[in-house]
């Protein structure tokens, strides 16, 4: 049964731990530059997540036994390390791109490891398995790159906020489809990302604030986790392909803030409109999930 008090407590711990670690690291080297801030964010997110999941008693197994274990103990750490490395100024952009591409290609394969989809028992043929994994990797990479590109143009935190909104909806949707533990795992991450992003915004200089609110590390970790959660919810839980695709692609509606008539608005108004647009498909998916839950699952409770 969902334990909402535990989720709220775990999320609070994740946000607080993330914020405290971020504040400590940023204060330690105030003139550390963008690279140091990037590392600080990565370490803070990791600390916040560790605190949140410990509080939640998520009972992750090592070596990983299921898809959620693989997401949280393999894919997420890989994303954190990669984003930490990506912030090194000496690293060329194409090398950073290659690292991100490698992670995008590996993520579906890691999540499906040892499952019926890859076991050759008939669920999927080998060709079908590789085609689907490749397609998912391409979609992941495309959405990730578009969001990164857009975050460079619009700097009011819309991209980070939209990823957070999608994660906040993905959690309950997966839970209402019947995978409670998987859905609950979304909350500490949203809280950790929010705690770290806000701390960075408060502690950095005015000129860097809007950049850091949606730094590449926050976006990268958020996108990878959103993809991984929805992937697990689709192939191991019972959310539909339409639901998973809608939730994953909803943050792309941030591009609407680049429309000519919106550029005439004040920055905060354009950002608010953009987030309202992102919220529309999220609310529709949430309502549909609630309807299905009321029809199918609530009689079982």
């Amino acid at each position: 049964m969902p334990d909402y008090v535990a989720y709220l407590t775990a999320s609070s711990i994740a946000a607080i731990v993330g914020a405290v670690v971020a504040a400590t690291l940023l204060a330690a080297r105030r003139d550390g530059g963008a690279a140091w801030r990037n590392v600080a964010y990565v370490v803070s997110i990791a600390a916040g997540l560790a605190g949140g999941y410990w509080m939640m008693s998520l009972n992750l197994a090592w070596p990983p036994e299921n898809a959620l274990d693989r997401l949280l103990t393999v894919v997420l750490p890989m994303a954190l390390v990669m984003e930490g490395i990506a912030g090194i100024p000496a690293l060329s952009k194409w090398l950073v791109g290659v690292l991100r591409l490698m992670l995008a290609m590996l993520t579906p394969r890691i999540l499906l490891h040892d499952s019926v989809y890859l076991s050759g028992t008939g669920e999927w043929t080998s060709t079908r398995a590789w085609t689907i994994m490749l397609f998912c990797s391409v979609v992941l990479m495309a959405v990730w790159m578009m969001l990164l590109q857009f975050s460079g143009r619009r700097r009011n935190g819309e991209v980070s906020a939209s990823i957070g909104m999608a994660l906040l909806v993905a959690g309950p949707v997966i839970m209402m489809a019947g995978y409670i533990k998987g859905g609950a795992a979304a909350f500490p991450l949203v809280a950790a990302l929010a705690g770290v992003a806000i701390t960075g915004w408060v502690m950095t200089g005015k000129s860097e604030r809007t950049v850091d609110l949606q730094s590449a590390s926050i976006i990268g970790v958020g996108v990878i986790y959103l993809f991984g959660l929805l992937f697990v919810g689709r192939f191991f839980g019972r959310i539909s392909t339409t639901t998973a695709s809608t939730l994953f692609c909803a943050p792309l509606l941030c591009w609407s803030a680049g429309l000519p008539w919106l550029r005439t608005l004040k920055a905060w108004k354009a950002a608010a409109f953009c987030l309202m647009l992102v919220a529309i498909p999220l609310v529709i998916v949430l309502l549909a999930a609630w309807q299905a839950f009321e029809r199918d699952m609530s009689p079982l409770l």
Partner: protein, 194 residues
């Protein structure tokens, strides 16, 4: 006995000897699991006040019975977790998800015997029971085992019950609450050989 008589009988003696050795070597009868006349069902507590019943509809297996030396008998059973059936489609879908059987990660439940002992009214079978990626050693008390002829087919049947704790097999402790930790598995199995 004259030498010529002995020489005539030698081939016959040799054939008889070979046939008897052949019979001793293949003393174990092999049976295939008859899904139509067998069932694997279970029940678990709901909120501590009632029982939820279910069954698995896709089961396969083989067993071999050596009546002269029961310790050489073997039993093996494979259950497809996706075939769980509790007469409620939504609940079945819920049970297939990672909070419970996680059928896409752990598609089968398996039992393989490691030792067999004849006891009164049946066999005591020790073996490895694998569910949800975890293996535990268990002991089954099988009752039955008498062979019946029906047409050209020989049939033998066993029954057993097995109490397990889901927490011993890696089920999420938080999913153990409304549905009790302990589950009772009832196996009624009929094997056929021609």
């Amino acid at each position: 006995m004259q030498a010529s008589s002995f020489r005539r009988m030698t081939p016959l003696l040799l054939v008889t000897l070979i046939a008897s050795v052949g019979t001793t070597a293949s003393a174990a009868d092999e049976y295939d699991y008859d899904l139509v006349h067998s069932s694997v069902s279970f029940k678990a507590r709901h909120l501590g006040i009632s029982w939820i019943h279910g069954r698995f509809n896709e089961v396969s297996g083989k067993f071999s019975l050596d009546r002269q030396d029961p310790s050489k008998s073997t039993f093996a059973l494979t259950i497809k977790t996706d075939s769980v059936d509790t007469a409620n489609k939504a609940r079945d879908e819920h049970l297939r998800q990672p909070d419970y059987f996680d059928t896409k990660q752990f598609p089968t439940i398996e039992f393989k015997s490691t030792s067999v002992k004849a006891v009164k009214d049946g066999y005591q079978v020790t073996g490895n029971f694998t569910m949800h990626g975890k293996t535990q050693k268990i002991v089954l008390a099988l009752t039955g085992g008498k062979e019946h002829d029906f047409g050209k087919v020989k049939r033998v049947a066993f029954s057993t019950e097995l109490a397990i704790k889901r927490s011993d097999y890696g089920f999420d402790p938080k999913a153990i609450g409304p549905i009790g930790d302990e589950a009772l598995i009832i196996i009624d199995c009929e094997g056929v050989r021609k």
